[in-house]
């Protein structure tokens, strides 16, 4: 996972570059109908501020790294998904019961007890975690090398980073939103070019394979289709 000394980090090379999208996006075949989206460097966030964006870019890049077999969170534009979700009615918890009483310290199995909505959880938790990284590893999360970033995320996931009860679900939100952005339909901003679907062989919103369940050990060859009809 670690880059060899002296070589440019593959992640840094890919990060935010439109070229990364084109190079690694096996899904970005000639058939893909959508125009190439604006690069992550030039992306105008809808909710996240600059520091938060830098954090989300760095954190998702470690949660689903680009160095593995398949596409990573950066090429699939997971940060865009998270930003747009936090700006939408998910971020503002529009259709959740949020009237209280709130007991943020309640047992986790009591569900969402914090008075904060997901967007507020990100907003309040990121600076706390960044400060923790500063104290523990000597720099904000986005500035750490990958090894330390992994260590910091491990601490966060183990509950070793002191977080107020109101934001204690930050890690699980971050992890699940990252997975969602990776696998959700491209219309929500992530899973660019349906790369994650191509990678795992998921055919998307086609839902018609009645001749195939009996074809054991034969790979289904046709690429996926998105809800809006993109093909890969």
């Amino acid at each position: 996972m670690t880059d060899l000394p002296g070589y440019p980090s593959r992640r840094n090379f890919l990060k935010g570059s439109a070229a990364g999208f084109a190079l690694t996006g096996i899904a970005a075949s000639a058939e893909a109908q959508t125009e190439a989206p604006v690069s992550l460097d030039e992306y105008q966030t809808e909710y996240l501020n600059e520091a938060e964006w830098a954090f989300i870019m760095a954190a998702t890049a470690r949660l689903i790294p680009s160095e593995g077999d398949g596409p990573g969170a950066i090429e699939t534009r997971v940060p865009v998904f998270i930003d747009r979700q936090l700006a939408s009615d998910y971020g503002t918890a529009d259709d959740w019961y949020m009237e209280g009483p709130h007991d943020a310290d309640a047992e986790p199995n009591r569900g969402w007890q914090t008075p904060l909505n997901p967007a507020e959880v990100y907003r309040q938790a990121i600076p706390v975690f960044d400060a923790w990284c500063q104290d523990t590893h000597g720099a904000g999360f986005a500035e750490l090398d990958e090894e330390r970033q992994d260590a910091a995320l491990t601490s966060l996931s183990n509950g070793d980073v002191a977080l107020a009860p109101e934001v204690r679900d930050f890690w699980s939100l971050l992890l699940s939103n990252t997975k969602e952005g990776y696998f959700a339909d491209p219309q929500y901003g992530g899973n660019a070019g349906m790369q994650s679907w191509v990678y795992i062989g998921f055919p998307g919103a086609r839902a018609a394979y009645r001749e195939w369940p009996e074809r054991h050990n034969i790979e289904y060859p046709l690429g996926p289709v998105s809800i809006s009809g993109e093909r890969a």
Partner: protein
């Protein structure tokens, strides 16, 4: 020279007089075919059956209006024609009409004050009604229907179609047939079917081609073009006879199911036909739908069995329809899921395959088969485009109460893609119809958004 002018003036005068006579001398009403006794009484339910079989409600009721109170816009090539109030309201309806007045409107297309009806009213077909049915319908309208006060909307067509006296000339060309019904005498069921098809059901109004004068090119089975297929408002009303008939491969039982429920093992009713099923055919007794089916299937001389009932209650085993020889190659291509398949096949795989299947046979009673489907391979392509863009809906019927809905793909497919898909459909499973241009798709999409 003087003589010449005198002759000329005389001719002009004769012409003017003839024209004035043509316009103002009342039309001779056709005599009744039978004299019924003054105390003649229709059988219980006969009048309502005639009303249903004649599909009067569909045209004479507006979307949000009272039944039979008129006010529906009937689109015609000449402009919008407004249907009229036929409830027995004395002021705004037909409450003051005598039976003779009513008959004249039904078989001569003339109202009591001599005004010609536009032939959107199918008096060409109702002309073949029996006197008994005419009387039953009149009595029903006058005594069983509640009068509704609803003023008629004026139909204002552009010149020259606003000159209603011109219809008199048209009637000379269109109303050449005698009033009343002449059964072919093949069998009771087929004779009843012939009557319903030729007369009350006015099937020929859509399913028979129109001649140069926009008149039905044949109103009875004696004419070879009768029911040979027509085009109405950009939709194909498929041929019901001959080798190209959409119903060629259907049994009498399947055809009767279609009439009564808007769906059968092969297809579903769309557009105008869905309305006919909803407002008219589903209300007829089984015997009448079987009779219509028997008559239509018998037109080409095919032998057939008469079913006992229509759309039998379930459970019904509907074996999966496998691809036939003509459709085998297309089915094989689709099942292969080959990424190199043509774009049309790919679009079918992505959007249509789930319901209409690789065989193109659909699912009996639910999803129509696309192989040989009249809407898919018709000369008119806008219905196919419209169904792809906007979806379709088969209305619930008494015997098959489930509404069948197909979603639209306007958001998912571009004009180019719809054209590609439609073109592919028109050549798949042995279908053999021409290509669809993206411009045609754009036109349908634009006309939809203009509504």
């Amino acid at each position: 020279m003087k003589t010449f002018l005198r002759i000329l003036a005389g001719l002009v005068l004769v012409g003017v007089i003839a024209l004035l006579a043509f316009i103002f001398v009342p039309v001779q009403r056709t005599e009744p075919t039978t004299e019924l006794a003054a105390d003649w009484q229709a059988a219980e339910g006969q009048g309502e059956l005639v009303l249903d079989a004649g599909d009067c409600v569909a045209c004479h009721t507006s979307d949000d209006g009272e039944s039979l109170a008129g006010g529906r816009a009937i689109a015609s090539p000449m402009g919008t024609i407004w249907s009229t109030n036929i409830t027995p309201d004395a002021e705004t309806g037909i409450g003051n009409w005598s039976f003779a007045d009513f008959r004249a409107a039904m078989i001569d297309g003339v109202t009591p004050n001599g005004t010609h009806l536009y032939p959107a009213m199918p008096y060409e077909n109702y002309r073949l009604m029996t006197e008994e049915d005419m009387r039953a319908l009149y009595d029903y309208l006058m005594t069983e229907v509640e009068p509704v006060s609803a003023a008629n909307k004026d139909t204002n067509l552009d010149f020259p179609f606003n000159q209603r006296w011109g219809i008199r000339a048209w009637n000379w060309l269109a109303l050449t047939h005698d009033a009343g019904f002449t059964p072919a005498g093949v069998s009771d069921a087929q004779d009843r079917g012939q009557y319903l098809v030729e007369s009350l059901g006015h099937c020929g109004a859509c399913h028979t081609p129109r001649n140069t004068f926009m008149a039905q090119d044949g109103v009875t089975a004696e004419s070879e073009s009768f029911l040979a297929g027509g085009v109405v408002g950009g939709w194909n009303a498929p041929a019901l006879r001959g080798d190209d008939a959409g119903i060629k491969g259907w049994t009498v039982s399947e055809l009767a199911d279609y009439l009564a429920t808007g769906r059968n093992a092969h297809s579903t009713a769309n557009g105008e036909m869905a309305l006919v099923v909803e407002h008219s055919l589903q209300k007829l007794p089984d015997s009448d739908n079987i009779a219509i089916a028997a008559y239509l299937k018998g037109m080409d001389g095919d032998a057939f069995d008469l079913p006992e009932e229509v759309a039998a209650a379930g459970p019904i085993a509907t074996p999966e329809a496998e691809a036939d020889d003509a459709g085998a190659a297309t089915a094989e291509l689709l099942v292969s899921a080959d990424p190199d398949m043509p774009l049309g096949a790919r679009l079918y795989s992505d959007n249509c395959l789930g319901c209409h299947f690789a065989s193109g046979k659909g699912a009996p009673g639910i999803f129509p088969e696309l192989q040989g489907n009249g809407l898919v391979v018709g000369s008119e392509v806008s219905p196919l485009i419209s169904v792809i863009l906007n979806g379709a809906e088969v209305p619930p019927t008494a015997k098959r109460p489930m509404t069948l809905r197909m979603q639209g793909y306007a958001d998912r497919l571009s004009d180019d893609e719809v054209a590609e898909l439609a073109t592919w459909l028109r050549g798949a499973w042995g279908n053999d119809a021409g290509a669809v241009a993206p411009e045609a798709v754009a036109e349908v999409r634009d006309s939809d958004s203009a509504h």
